[in-house]
Symmetry: C2
Amino acid sequence: MEAIAKYAHYLETELQKLDFPATPGNLYDPLRYFMTLGGKRIRPMLTLLGAELFGTAGEKAIHAALSVEIFHNFSLIHDDIMDEAPLRRKQPTVHTRWNNNVAILSGDVLLVKAYQEICKQATEVLPELMQVFNQTAVEVCEGQQHDMDFEKESTVSIPAYIEMIRLKTSVLLGCALQMGAIVAGASTADQQLIYEFGQHIGIAFQIQDDILDLYADPEKFGKQVGGDVIANKKTLLLLKAFEMADEQQSAKLNHLLTVQNTTEKIIGVRTIFDEIGVQAAARKIMDKHTALAMEALAAIDVHEEKKQPLLELSDFLLVREF
Amino acid sequence: MEAIAKYAHYLETELQKLDFPATPGNLYDPLRYFMTLGGKRIRPMLTLLGAELFGTAGEKAIHAALSVEIFHNFSLIHDDIMDEAPLRRKQPTVHTRWNNNVAILSGDVLLVKAYQEICKQATEVLPELMQVFNQTAVEVCEGQQHDMDFEKESTVSIPAYIEMIRLKTSVLLGCALQMGAIVAGASTADQQLIYEFGQHIGIAFQIQDDILDLYADPEKFGKQVGGDVIANKKTLLLLKAFEMADEQQSAKLNHLLTVQNTTEKIIGVRTIFDEIGVQAAARKIMDKHTALAMEALAAIDVHEEKKQPLLELSDFLLVREF
């Protein structure tokens, strides 16, 4: 974990240096606030490791890395408005602490700041960086739209759900890695492979997130266990349960969606999920994407030792006990 | 007006060709709707004329031109949410026809589309284009924030007001022209001059807009005369009036701000404005910026004939009778 620890410290230092003007305060104060709320900084780490993988010091890709982290924060600020989320990283969201207008506009300017960071990389790689960044930014918006649409739909297929999480969260991990690879001058084929690696790790991570909601060890889990169940969220678990359930189980599940008592609801849903074998089914899909990620990484023709930090990072992301 | 008429037709054709994916419909339908609501398309026209001025066919700058128009529409969609505006170009705004979330997210993806258009210009000019575009995008957000802040402030100075309209609306005209000049390979000095021309025309136009609200010929004016007065909007006229008023006039004006009867209010405000000489004072500031624009254009060392379309366009923008 040496490379990772070194870069984690470096990233925090560089993020601290991000400089927002003093005025207008209502535009920039929220950004100073939000950008320092913390977070795992996984995405910019991937950019640095993506450069490192192809033989270039991560530091050379710092602006690409920061642009990815800035973009991620932009999308969180706007998503929080749309999802009416009161908290982010246990602190008030921007639209809660200020108001919706402030959150819209400071989000907008943050997106532009992401582009300003990209432009600080060498001009020769700018067109390539812009290409993957723009494509990804569009996809992230599409993913968020699908997610909001799904809430109103009565049924969502598993492939549609996987596609939604791919767009909403996973492509940005692929993009982060690819931008590092671009700075390092990697071939188009290698860029594609490292992008695939990131994208599949992202999908696996998101599925794990769905599983952990109900099956995490409450002592180790940062959030309330069963939060998705209480909110009737269409997670992979719930979609898979309806797909696999017999008539009687379906009826029971549909009834449970209307139950108000949260303990009764969580225990009831978990009992049916266990009966059906939902956790194992979700794990199977998760494992498939982990395997696809590893396959892509294996196909990259660099010294195996070079891949170590990325393998460590995926272990860290994907092997939370459950 | 030959060049302008030709380009106006060309721009509409190119705007029609903008291609948004079919799905997700809630993301892209609003963009298809909003981008075809019309508008004068002044900004992309400026980009084409900016290229033409420096000896390059406007068509070569079409993607830069489209990016400016797309950006403008993005900012309108988000501003309309913030300003709670029900109508734009006499049609329902995006957040009214759909909802706030749709307007936020489709606005976001539209901003990314603006960047995608820029990237279609030649890679050699991309860094320069991005530089002015990013800077301008940040400033437009700052201008919108100042505008919203001003609504809550008891007094706003004239210089602060001019700076607000410069940021919110005028820098984008400068940017539009400069992007055309960049595509045409103009020198940095010439780029700066054509930017100044656009910026000052923009400020003059915005001041004219404030004046027309109260002094336009109702038969020729598209909007309700006195709309800003009814809304107690801090226009240049009102700020200038308070600056020039004696104690008695100030008291009268303050009283008029509380009057509910719109006819009484408009006539009352207009009477005091006339007494104080507010229109002439505002005209003076407008004329100063028109002169600064002409000075910048005059300093550009190209054949005078080449400047003709830009002069015609400013005449069109600035000589509405009042």
